[in-house]
Symmetry: C2
Subunit: 368 residues, 2 copies
C-alpha cells in the first residue's frame, strides 16, 4: 500500500511528549480527538511481541478528558450513557457506551468519578464535550463542562507492574483493576488508574502538569532499562486479538450498543434516565439482526480503510471493519459486523483483498 | 522538519475520490471531521501559483454536512449561531459562527438553506452533529439530525468559470457568489454552490450519488485539459493570504467571535434566541483585549504545530497560530492573536523559529 505523510498544523494538536517520541523513532501517527496519536514505530509485529513480553510507555494524550462538574454533573453523565452509574464510587473507572436518542453509538469512554459532583469522561474519538454542552444548555443544567489539560501516559505490558513499583513504591500494587488513586513522584501528585488500551496489564497516568509529565516520561525510560522498556502505542494486532473495540473503526453511529456486544453496560430495567432509553427498550424487544464477531482469514496482508464485504457464495455474511496480520496465529485477525443467520460460526466466507480472494471463518471475541 | 506517515484505518474515512487523488500524486493528508482531507501534492508553492492562474479540482468531502430537518429545524440552527438567520433565503449560503453558551467558538460552517425546514451545515472540523443532538434532546425539538452521504468536489481558480460552463452549460454563469442551485450532468442532478475555500473564485459541488460524483470527477479532468486543470487541495499559502480562517488552527473554543473578527456575523440587538447571546452581550459591553491579525515575518521556513509567542523585547505581543512562506511576498505570512496595545501595527516583534530569532511586523487581514 502506498503511504502518505501527515500535514501537521496546530489543529492536529501536539502533546507534551511529541518531541520525545519523535526522537525515539516514531514513524506514523493517527489523529484522535483532534490530536496526534502515535500509531507505529516502524514494525507493528515487533512492537506486538515486545508489548506482550516487556513494558512500553505510550503517549495517549489523545484520550482527552471531558470534565463535568457541578450540582447536576452526575445527572448529565447519566443522561449520556446507558450504563447505570447511580452506584458508581469515587476512585473507580467505568467503561460506558455513550449513545444518542436513537440508541446509536457516539463513543465508548471510560468514566472516572473524581468527586461526588465531578467526573472525567476519558474519550474515544468524538467531540462528546459538544454533546454534553448541548444537553446542558437545552435542560439548563447546573454544570461546568471543560477539557482540562490532561495528557495521559500509559504504561503497558507484563513488566509495567515492576516498573511502576520501582518508581512509585509498593503501594501502587494495592491498586485494583479499573481503580484509580493519587501517587507522589518527585513532589508532584499524579492520578494513576490501573487501566489501558491493551490486555497485557498496566496503568494510565493522568498528567495535569506538563513539566512534571515530561520528567515522569524520562524517568520511566531511565528506570525501565532493566525491564527492556520501549516507547510504544496502542497496537493494532494486540487490540484486535483482545477485542478492545475502536470507536469509528469497529462501530459508528449506525450501530447500537447491543450490536457491539455491550449488553452488560446497558440498563433498561431500573428507573435511571438517559437519552436513547426508549430506543434501547424497543431494540431489546425486537432483538438485533447483526453483531460484532471475530474473524480469521487465510492471508498475510490487509489494510482496512473502508468496510469490506464478506460473502458465502452469493450471500452477504457481513462486513469486515478492522483487521491485521497476527504473527502468533499466522492468519489475519479481524472484527466484523455479522448477520444473525451466520452467528453459529459454521459458515466460511470469502473476502476480496486487492485482486485476490481469501477464505475465512468466524470466531468469538476476544480472539485469543 | 521530520515527516511522519498517516496510519490509515476505517475511522479516518476515505472519500469516493480517494483512489483517484492518490493516483494523481497526492503526498500528504490532514484529518478533518474524521475523514481524509488532501493537504499536498508535493509542492505547496507550485500548487499556489497554479491555483491563482488556472483551475483545480479538490476532494473536500471532509467538509461534512449536518442535515437538520423538521418543524423546529430553523429554531435549532438559530440556537447554534450568533448570526441572524431569520431572513435567510432558500438557495443561499451563510457563513455562520457556531458558539457555546459561554460565547466560545465551536465551528465556522457555511449554512445552506435547502427548504423552509431543512438545512445543511457544511462543517469545519468538529462534531457539531453532537451539539445539535444534545440541544434537540434537551429541548425536545421536533427535528431529524443526520449526516447525509454528501461528498463535496470544489472547483477553484480563475478558470473554474470556463470549465464549469463547458460541463454544465451557460446557465451556471447566472449563479451569484454564495448562491446555490441544481444542475444536470449526464442524467444526474447536482447541488452546485458558488463558494469554496479559496479567494480565487469557483464552485463547490455537493455530490449525493457516489458513482455520479466519480464520473463528474473524471469529466472535470477530461474537459479541463484545455484549462490546465490539476488536482489540488485547500492551499495553506493562499488561505492565509486571503484570511480564510481555519477552525482549530486560527481559533478554538477559548476564543470568542469578536476576537476572530466575526462582528458582521453577530446579532445581539434583535430578539433572536441563541445559546451564548448573554455572553456575547457581556463581551460586547466590556470590549475585547485581543484579536486575530496578519503578520509578515522575515524568514523563509516555518512549521506551526503549536501557538508560538511573539515578543517585543520583554513584552508579549501575541501568539502566532498559522504561518507559511509566501513566494509572492518573499516573507512568511501568518495569522496571530494579538494583544490590544499592539493593534496600531507600529510595534515590530521577534519570533523564535527553531534556534533562530526572526523579525516581523503586524498587518491587516486579508494580507493581500
Amino acid at each position: 500500500m502506498k503511504k502518505f505523510y501527515i500535514a501537521k498544523s496546530r489543529r492536529l494538536r501536539s502533546t507534551p511528549y511529541t518531541s520525545r517520541i519523535e526522537k525515539q523513532g516514531l514513524t506514523a501517527y493517527t489523529i484522535y480527538n483532534h490530536m496526534l496519536l502515535p500509531a507505529s514505530f516502524g514494525n507493528l509485529e515487533k512492537e506486538y511481541l515486545h508489548l506482550k513480553e516487556h513494558v512500553q510507555v505510550w503517549d495517549v494524550a489523545a484520550e482527552r478528558q471531558v470534565q463535568i462538574k457541578g450540582k447536576d454533573a452526575t445527572k448529565l453523565v447519566q443522561l449520556m450513557t446507558c450504563r447505570n452509574i447511580s452506584k458508581a464510587k469515587i476512585g473507580r473507572c467505568y467503561y460506558a457506551p455513550i449513545i444518542d436518542e436513537q440508541g446509536g453509538m457516539l463513543n465508548d469512554p471510560v468514566l472516572l468519578k473524581l468527586e461526588e459532583n465531578k467526573w472525567w469522561i476519558s474519550l474515544a474519538d468524538s467531540d462528546i464535550s459538544l454533546y454534553a454542552k448541548g444537553i446542558a444548555s437545552g435542560l439548563s443544567l447546573q454544570v461546568e463542562i471543560s477539557e482540562p489539560d490532561v495528557n495521559i501516559l500509559a504504561i503497558q505490558g507484563p513488566k509495567s507492574f515492576k516498573l511502576m513499583e520501582k518508581i512509585l513504591g509498593k503501594k501502587i500494587n494495592e491498586l485494583k483493576f479499573f481503580g484509580f488513586n493519587y501517587y507522589d513522584f518527585k513532589g508532584n501528585k499524579f492520578l494513576v488508574a490501573r487501566s489501558g488500551w491493551s490486555k497485557q496489564g498496566g496503568y494510565e497516568v493522568y498528567v495535569k502538569n506538563r513539566d512534571a509529565g515530561k520528567k515522569l516520561y524520562d524517568e520511566l525510560f531511565l528506570a525501565g532499562k532493566e525491564f527492556q522498556v520501549k516507547p510504544g502505542c496502542p497496537n493494532l494486532i494486540e487490540r484486535i486479538e483482545s477485542a478492545l473495540l475502536s470507536a469509528g473503526n469497529d462501530f459508528d453511529n449506525g450501530d447500537n450498543p447491543y450490536e457491539c456486544g455491550f449488553d452488560q453496560y446497558i440498563d433498561i430495567d431500573s428507573n435511571i434516565n438517559y437519552l436513547g432509553k426508549k430506543s434501547l427498550i424497543e431494540i431489546s424487544k425486537k432483538g438485533i439482526s447483526r453483531k460484532l464477531m471475530g474473524v480469521l482469514i487465510d492471508a498475510d496482508k490487509i489494510e482496512v480503510t473502508e468496510e469490506m464485504p464478506l460473502y458465502n457464495v452469493e450471500n452477504l455474511v457481513g462486513f469486515l471493519r478492522s483487521a491485521t496480520y497476527s504473527p502468533n496465529l499466522k492468519k489475519i485477525v479481524g472484527i466484523a459486523m455479522i448477520k444473525k443467520e451466520f452467528w453459529d460460526k459454521k459458515t466460511p466466507f470469502e473476502l476480496k483483498i486487492g485482486d485476490k480472494k481469501s477464505k475465512g471463518v468466524l470466531c468469538d471475541l476476544p480472539i485469543v
